[in-house]
């Protein structure tokens, strides 16, 4: 009666849909992944009480007033012009240093725009003047 052997049923897990499942998860992670990019303008602050004597002829003074107007070596300039002026000066004198002075009322956006111009001129020596006490 029970002597008949059961036919060997295949006990494999079907893997045909494995790729579909993996694809679905792949798409989910593709969509949710945000490759965060933190970008910005790098700068190194001077240390506390660290002052350096710099020759007058190597300094360019750059002032930004409360209205966002820029004075470069005592001459009013437009922000987009800064890059070319600094580039020219840098070609004449590679040791040039730009000292950026700001008014407490100056907007941050203007300050970043000016720094951006200086960076675009490939200037590495940027000094942030300490605010007057």
């Amino acid at each position: 009666m029970f002597t008949e052997k059961r036919k060997g049923k295949s006990s494999e897990i079907p893997t045909a849909s494995l790729a579909d499942i993996a694809f679905l998860m792949l798409i989910f992670f593709l969509v949710t992944t945000t490759i965060d990019v933190d970008k910005g303008i790098g700068l190194t602050l001077p240390g506390k009480g660290e002052t350096k004597e710099v020759r007058k002829k190597n300094i360019m003074n750059l002032g930004i007033n409360a209205d966002g107007e820029v004075l470069l070596d005592n001459e009013p300039v437009g922000i987009p012009e800064i890059r070319d002026i600094v580039k020219r000066r840098l070609a004449e004198n590679p040791n040039i240093l730009v000292s950026v002075k700001t008014d407490p009322e100056t907007g941050y956006q203007v300050y970043i725009k000016v720094l951006d111009q200086l960076k675009q001129a490939n200037l590495t020596r940027i000094s942030i003047a300490e605010p007057p006490k």
Binding site: A22, L26, T33, D38, K39, P104, E105, L115
Partner: protein, 137 residues
């Protein structure tokens, strides 16, 4: 002479290794996904053209400053006078000494606040800074 007809070949791309490839991609994305639970206080970053990447994700402190002057370091709202102590502790951390401070400042703030934070950072000897900005301008 009889030409024997060629057997019709059935070209098929072998798909047996497809799941393996997909799994590899899947694992890559699973590992690289970071679910950020916290994105800081909302700030409208300024725009700039010549911006550079932060040297790395590790050992970076984020200082947020929003339009109303709220300061937040990593995930804590702090007052201006606390900034130097916190930053100093980060600098003095033995395992992960702070390398770069990313300043995420709102574009509408004024320079007096920025200068105050500069002063605090100088006190803490956290001199490498990066003004966070978006591409544009």
């Amino acid at each position: 002479m009889k030409f024997e007809r060629k057997e019709e070949s059935k070209p098929a791309i072998p798909t047996a290794s497809l799941p393996d490839i997909i799994f590899m991609l899947l694992i890559f994305f699973m590992v690289s996904t970071v679910f950020k639970e916290f994105r800081g206080i909302p700030v409208a970053l300024p725009a700039a053209k010549k911006i550079e990447k932060l040297p790395g994700k590790r050992d970076v402190a984020y200082v947020y400053l929003d339009r109303r002057g709220t300061i937040m370091i990593d995930d804590r709202i702090v007052s201006m006078s606390e900034v130097d102590d916190i930053m100093y502790a980060k600098r003095a951390d033995k395992d992960h000494p702070l390398k770069v401070t990313s300043l995420k400042f709102d574009k509408q703030i004024r320079m007096d606040l920025v200068n105050q934070i500069h002063e605090e950072l100088k006190k803490a000897d956290a001199l490498n800074i990066n003004y966070s900005a978006i591409t544009g301008g």
